[in-house]
């Protein structure tokens, strides 16, 4: 395995008496795609939120690029280079495509010392990014509320491809996408990983996990039930890990 980018060490999260995560330990290497699998309520989304700064863990620690890391807000995680695409879309439907693409990191130029939005520069970047990904949106100036679910998800996916960072977390990114767009999305993930960016993808679809991931991590009832290289396992074995019928192949891969 390549040099670890993010190491999770016994990360736990309680909601009152309920233990959502009982202690999760695994690591993600640079340029590695890890598929995070597990049944509904296994704690996948909670884990992603902890890494992304949306939730604070109850205990445990994380190492990011070898240094102790805990994001107190999404802004901190972003600053550290962690991009997240959430399950429920994180778009502001009341503004246009360009504004959404650059949400929180608008290109500005100074006019009399005051930062002013550079709409033209931003529009050009978005146009280029969407064109290279093959996403067709009629006008970049239409408000997102007028776009289809697939177009919306495409904006989010293109956003992380464009801004990159060091680690990308994808929480069921293809839920609203068609067959062709999903294929393109998976290509995007490989392309991002080949630039040395670590990718964690949550999915329910076994086929997608096997198509894109280098390693498969299964979470069951708040603990890691399996951590295996893709080429050393099979969909059936993974399903057994998810449902808890066997613990075949359990334990860290490296």
């Amino acid at each position: 395995m390549s040099e670890p980018l993010l190491v999770l060490d016994n990360v736990a999260k309680n909601y009152g008496a309920i233990e959502a995560l009982k202690g999760i330990s695994f690591s993600i290497g640079k340029g590695e795609v890890v598929a995070l699998l597990g049944d509904n309520g296994a704690g996948k989304s909670t884990l992603v939120k902890i890494i992304a700064g949306g939730l604070e863990p109850t205990s445990g620690r994380m190492l990011f690029e070898g240094k102790e890391f805990l994001a107190k807000s999404p802004a901190e995680a972003k600053a550290a280079g962690i991009e997240t695409v959430y399950q429920d879309l994180s778009l502001c439907t009341n503004v246009d495509v360009v504004a959404n693409f650059f949400m929180g990191r608008e290109i500005t130029r100074k006019v009399l010392g005051i930062p002013v939005l550079d709409e033209r520069a931003m529009e050009q970047v978005v146009q280029k990014a969407l064109a290279s990904a093959g996403t067709r949106i009629p006008s970049l100036r239409t408000n997102v509320e007028h776009l289809s679910g697939g177009q919306r998800q495409a904006i989010e996916l293109n956003r992380f491809v464009h801004f990159g960072g060091k680690l990308v977390l994808l929480d069921e990114p293809f839920a609203a996408l068609g067959v062709e767009q999903t294929r393109r999305g998976l290509d995007m993930i490989r392309q991002v990983a080949s630039q040395g960016i670590g990718v964690v993808i949550i999915t329910h679809i076994m086929q997608q996990a096997f198509q894109v991931a280098d390693r498969i991590v299964v979470i069951r009832q708040g603990v890691v039930a399996g951590d295996v290289a893709r080429n050393k396992t099979s969909p059936d074995a993974v399903i057994n890990m998810i449902t808890g019928e066997t613990l075949a192949g359990a334990g860290p891969a490296s």
Binding site: S73, A75, Y86, S90, N94, M103, P115, L117, T142
Partner: protein, 331 residues
Amino acid sequence: MNPRTRQTLEFILDNLVWFMLVFVLVVFSILIPNYFQLGIFANIIEASSVLGVMSIGLALVIIAGHMDLSVESVAALSAMAVGILFCSSGIGLGIQLQPQWLMVPVSLLIALAVGGLIGAFNGYLVVRVKMSAFIITLASYIWVRGLVLVISGGRSAQDLAPAIRWFGIQRLGGLPLTAWIAIACFVVFSLIMAKTPFGRHLVMIGGNETATFRAGIRVNRNLVIAFVLAGAIAGLAGWLLAIRTSGATANLGVGLLFNAFAAVVIGGVSLKGGVGTLPGVYAGVLLLSAINTAINLMGLPANFTQVIHGLLVLAAVLLDAFKQTIRQRLA
């Protein structure tokens, strides 16, 4: 539908309130004798300056998805603070500063500071204590007005220092400087909302607060700034009010809040947040003012104004819903 018609329709929808304003002005000019003269139009702008400034602050907070009911009381408190310090009769202390003009920035700063402080208080409670802005600012609406009564003892201050009053008397291009201040505020804040990251972030926060938080925008900081701005702008409105009435009374500006609300809603700002522009709000303010002037000219009892304003707000909300349906058809 071809793109050109669609674009035209969208343009009309986006600027509907301006078309309404022009329509109303034309109708009044035809139907009401003496309505069509520059003096009347100047009067419409002049009469709308206090309301206009106050509406800016209210609109900022509503666009960001929250609410500020305290603007009216905050304006009254700022006006009273300026009145007590710089008026020479009634409860006025008649403080004199040398040179005279120094009283202008000092009084203005006091008005802005009073408003800004109450805005900061509101914002802090909304953001940190996570209470509903509606309740917090309703409370502020009540206690701040109470504070005005307490510090004034229910009495009034008259005869504002001439150096300050100069802004209400001196005219430029037919309009008093106070009206120009209101116009300048609209220009400045319209630019901030449309052209700066801060304005863009407020609109997006109003649209989807979770998304902006996840995107790393400092939502809390932006919201507190919005509340402080709303308070400070209300303070400025109070300063203008003190100049306009050359002093302050304990019930100064009562009812302005509902007019500001009407202007904001008529101007196309959605109470759900995230939708609306400040030029639209200014058109809403001018529309209200144009109707008031018409009522005066027709010699109707002034009490009718309130009925008409109420109906206008209702019409504006209905219109907003209607606009939504058309937009959905367009998409």
